[in-house]
């Protein structure tokens, strides 16, 4: 089951990158494109093993940078840092609560772009920055906050649909059956 979960997450990351490049409706309306990868990383860190976190950070970061003007590989470390932080504290997080998922998504949605921007500034490729960037960060983090519980619901539905239903042991025991006589 574990490999199937990893596969689902990788496919979701791939489709999320495609959505971000092909559909610009959110950017036209709100002035910023929502990044879904931090939300997927939060789900990966809370529901899978450490190897999945590494794989998702590497694969999703490379996919994102391959279609962007970013230097290739710049998005890997921010995603990995977010995944690592969530994975490290995941025993203390109420992962089934939608509110906790939203708060984590919000934090990841703001941490990933900020770390990416810092890395870009470090590598000597100054990006387009200004007061509008604050608005864009707010939109990105809100989008990520909304997307995180949605991803939890989506993956839960996928697991229910594609895996065997668990067989529960019944409480019936023949040796404790009450035999009624005359």
């Amino acid at each position: 089951m574990n490999w199937l979960n990893t596969l689902f997450i990788l496919v979701a990351a791939f489709l999320a990158v495609f959505w971000e490049t092909a559909f610009q409706g959110v950017r036209h309306v709100l002035g910023a494109q929502v990044d879904l990868l931090p939300a997927i990383m939060v789900y990966a860190a809370l529901s899978s093993g450490f190897s999945t976190v590494c794989l998702v950070a590497f694969f999703a970061g490379l996919c994102f940078d391959s279609l962007s003007a970013n230097p290739l590989g710049i998005s890997i470390l921010p995603l990995f840092a977010v995944g690592l932080a969530v994975y490290f504290w995941r025993d203390l997080i109420l992962r089934d609560q939608s509110f906790a998922q939203m708060v984590l998504g919000f934090g990841a949605g703001i941490a990933c772009p900020v770390l990416s921007l810092l890395l870009l500034l470090t590598t000597g490729r100054p990006p387009q920055l200004g007061w509008g960037t604050v608005w864009q960060l707010i939109i990105m983090s809100l989008g990520s906050a909304i997307a995180t519980p949605a991803f939890f619901l989506l993956f839960e539905w996928l697991h229910k649909s594609l895996s065997h239903a668990p067989v529960f042991e019944t409480s019936f025991r023949p040796d404790r059956e009450i035999r009624r006589g005359r």
């Binding site: 490049t21 710049i74 690592l84 990006p127 509008g132």
Partner: protein, 268 residues
């Protein structure tokens, strides 16, 4: 708590990232192309869906509407033919006068149409990718424009796709000239992250005679963009550097947030 395998994986990720970040430009471009080609089936699918939608839209369009559009286009075509005739006459006259003065003849633009296939996923760059590549003769720094005005320049080229860095991106600077009596020159540079249709024109003289509505054209200085491509119109201006220079805001002629078809200027 993290265990030893976790630390190994962590080290491996950091090491691999640093290796990829320090790869030579050509290798990185090839890797980007290879990874980007994974998305080709999805883009093909999205394109097919879009075309099917357009076909459905065309099928339900009323005949009267089509006829009225056809009439309007025919009228426009006739007007444009007349304008072309006049322009050709002026071009011939211009060419003759240039020859008499011993000036170099003007080179005709050689343009190739192309479609915008994908937009930038991040919010801090302004780029798009088009469906022309090195096999179509596209080269780095080729100017890209629409019928409304300048759009940007080619920043990287692969076999079948090219990346266009748009006006307003920090990596796209254009030498420009204002259409006013003093023919003030400056440089079109970056803009705010939320202002996709407005750019700043810097390095203008402090005595620049700028008025809202004046056209801004490429000046031909800098060697990348040929002169006399429309960039936009002056919105307003302000003094900078304690009154030593002027900065103008320019409303771009091309709508960069709704690019669909663009023209790439090829080498003649």
């Amino acid at each position: 708590m993290l265990k030893r395998p976790h630390y190994i994986a962590l080290g491996l990720i950091v090491f691999l990232t640093l290796v990829i970040l320090n790869l030579p430009g050509k290798t990185t471009a090839r890797m980007k192309l290879g990874l980007g080609s994974l998305f080709v089936p999805l883009f093909g699918l999205a394109n097919s869906v879009e075309q099917a939608g357009a076909k459905t839209g065309n099928a339900i369009l009323p005949r009267s509407e089509l006829i009225s559009q056809k009439d309007a286009l025919e009228r426009q075509n006739q007007e444009l033919r007349l304008q072309l005739m006049q322009a050709e006459g002026m071009a011939r006259e211009n060419e003759r006068l240039r020859r008499l003065l011993g000036w170099q003849p003007n080179k005709a633009w050689k343009l190739k149409p192309s479609h915008v296939v994908l937009a930038e996923p991040s919010n801090w760059w302004r780029t798009v990718q088009i469906d022309l590549g090195s096999r179509d003769g596209v080269k780095i720094n080729s100017p890209v424009l629409t019928t409304d005005g300048l759009v940007g320049r080619i920043s990287s080229v692969s076999l079948t796709r090219s990346q266009v860095v748009l006006l307003g991106d920090p990596n796209c600077k254009v030498a420009a000239r204002v259409e006013n009596p003093t023919r003030d020159t400056g440089v079109i540079g970056g803009s705010g992250p939320l202002e996709s249709g407005i750019c700043e024109m810097a390095y203008l003289s402090r005595t620049a005679d700028l008025k809202p509505g004046q056209n801004v054209w490429t000046s031909g200085l800098g060697g990348i963009f040929p002169k006399d491509i429309l960039i936009g119109k002056v919105l307003d201006s302000r003094s900078e550097d304690y009154g030593m220079s002027t900065v103008a805001r320019v409303k771009l002629a091309a709508n960069l947030s709704a690019l669909d078809e663009v023209w790439v200027m090829m080498e003649p």
